[in-house]
């Protein structure tokens, strides 16, 4: 009897639950309205006019017609810029990893040696990540001139931010029990770091680095548009000269490079797992 009474909700509780439910419904409706307002304002700001797409079909068809067939006679000339593009990404990723790793250690709350260094490292990581790689490329082109080197520098600096943040997150999420266990054996700080932190997080860091390399290959294609070398520069030149058949060849090369990099990166990451 007592048990049954305990299960029956009191009138006060029922009223409170009903009140809570109507408030929740009103909140959901408000959120829906807010979402709708955001979609409408973004459509208005970008001047979205679907009819322009329909009227522009002729122009696009004309460009595609002029781009066919791809001009394979220029293929030998594209090998070097393609290699340049890949090498910009490799250099950018490697330099980024080398600089991001120590910064990530300083920026990981659980292993940082001091709070001041933590905030400095977080600041550097935040700044290098916030400035887009294209802007870094423009700055480095101004500083060191046209060519692949400013592109590689731009990717390096931007990678510091992107990798540093992810590396720091991996370190912060690691299981600290083995670290504490090793520290208790009397191992020195550096030994604890290299013998327990590094082996625990290394596969994740390598996986992230490979993913970054894959991203950097795509980014290095675009960097050529601002004079930072590689196949992007060839693409811009061909478009400016209305050589659409060469453009289509370059797009095929870009497609092959991107897909190949993506596959290799995925296979290597799967092996690390």
């Amino acid at each position: 009897m007592k048990h049954g009474m305990a299960q029956r909700p009191s009138p006060l509780a029922t009223a409170a639950a009903a009140g809570g439910s109507s408030v929740a419904k009103a909140m959901r409706f408000l959120l829906l309205l807010l979402g709708l307002a955001i979609v409408i304002q973004s459509t208005w700001v970008v001047h979205a006019r679907p009819q322009d797409l329909i009227t522009g079909v002729d122009g696009m068809a004309d460009i595609i017609r002029r781009a066919m067939p791809p001009d394979f006679s220029t293929l030998p000339d594209q090998i070097w810029p393609t290699l340049e593009t890949i090498d910009i990404a490799i250099f950018g990723t490697l330099a980024g990893v080398i600089m991001a790793a120590p910064l990530a250690v300083l920026a990981a709350a659980n292993v940082t040696p001091s709070r001041t260094l933590y905030y400095i490292a977080r600041g550097i990581i935040g700044f290098t990540r916030a400035v887009p790689d294209l802007v870094w490329a423009l700055l480095f082109v101004t500083a060191v001139g046209l060519g692949p080197f400013p592109g590689a520098l731009a990717l390096s600096v931007h990678s510091i931010g992107m990798l540093g943040r992810l590396f720091a997150e991996v370190i912060e999420q690691m299981d600290m029990a083995p670290v504490e266990a090793l520290a208790l054996t009397g191992a020195r700080r550096m030994q604890v770091f290299t013998h327990s932190v590094v082996p625990s997080v290394l596969p994740s860091l390598l996986g992230i680095s490979l993913y970054r390399l894959d991203e950097n290959i795509r980014s290095s294609l675009v960097l050529g548009f601002v004079g930072a070398g590689g196949i992007g520069f060839q693409l811009l030149t061909a478009m400016n000269l209305f050589q659409y058949q060469e453009v289509s060849l370059l797009l095929i090369i870009i497609f092959i490079v991107v897909i190949t990099a993506e596959r290799i990166s995925a296979i290597l990451r799967a092996r690390l797992g």
Partner: protein
């Protein structure tokens, strides 16, 4: 070998976790600490290992008083005191032998070990320690592939690699099945005798204490309730430790 005198710990919120604890563990002795949840068993071990700083009292290990030490001196002194816990806390991606050999890192101060290398001689010694815990055939295996009991044995081998004089074990069998728990307790008892270790072990399993301890210490509300040879331990004394919890 391991001596604790008038050890007390009062938390900043005023909670008295330990009060005037006196304890003496001799070489070759296995002392088991029993007590209810929150009685202060683990706090006692953490104060001895100095992962918690006691507010009063002294901890002597092999003639060195630990509570006054800090920094490098504490690190050196701590090497005489190994600790294992409920979870083996191995580096899962490293091999068993590498995990064991890392127990000796504190004895080295060279660049090779600072940058991830293991001293060659320690690998040979690690095989000996693995032999002692009966896992030499798993030396090359990754730590992530071990069962709970095997992992705990490897943690014990790592503790031996540290070449300690005393071993603290904080509920080392809490996550093991009864058979594995029995194996680990037999191993701890054997090591205490064979390696001349002073072993202080916190347990919840009263039967294991009856079967393996040389002495049993009961803790209740942060105070020593009894400290008796196993033979003199009565069921009533043990029941008294858990009475407040049952109520």
């Amino acid at each position: 070998m391991l001596k604790v005198t008038r050890l007390s710990l009062c938390y900043p919120n005023g909670k008295q976790a330990l009060s005037d604890v006196d304890l003496d563990v001799k070489t070759g002795e296995l002392v088991i600490v029993l007590g209810g949840n929150g009685s202060g068993k683990t706090t006692l071990l953490r104060c001895i290992a100095r992962t918690l700083a006691p507010t009063a009292g002294q901890v002597w290990v092999d003639g060195t008083e630990l509570t006054r030490l800090a920094g490098e001196k504490l690190r050196r002194a701590r090497m005489a005191l190994a600790m294992i816990s409920q979870h083996a806390s191995l580096v899962r991606r490293r091999s068993v032998i590498a995990n064991v050999a890392t127990g000796a890192l504190g004895h080295y101060a060279d660049w090779w070990t600072a940058f991830g290398g293991l001293p060659a001689g320690e690998r040979t010694l690690a095989m000996d320690y693995l032999n002692e815990v009966g896992l030499v055939e798993l030396a090359a295996q990754r730590a992530s592939t071990l069962s709970g009991g095997q992992a705990q044995r490897v943690a014990i081998a790592r503790a031996l690699a540290q070449r300690p004089r005393a071993l603290l074990a904080d509920e080392p069998v809490a996550s093991l099945d009864p058979e594995a728990a029995e194996d680990i307790m037999c191993l701890l008892k054997r090591l205490a005798k064979a390696d001349n270790l002073a072993v202080l072990c916190v347990l919840h399993q009263v039967e294991l204490a009856y079967n393996h301890a040389d002495r049993v210490v009961g803790i209740r509300d942060g105070r020593i309730a009894f400290d008796l040879p196993r033979e003199d331990l009565s069921r009533d004394a043990v029941r008294g430790l858990y009475l407040s919890e049952a109520a």
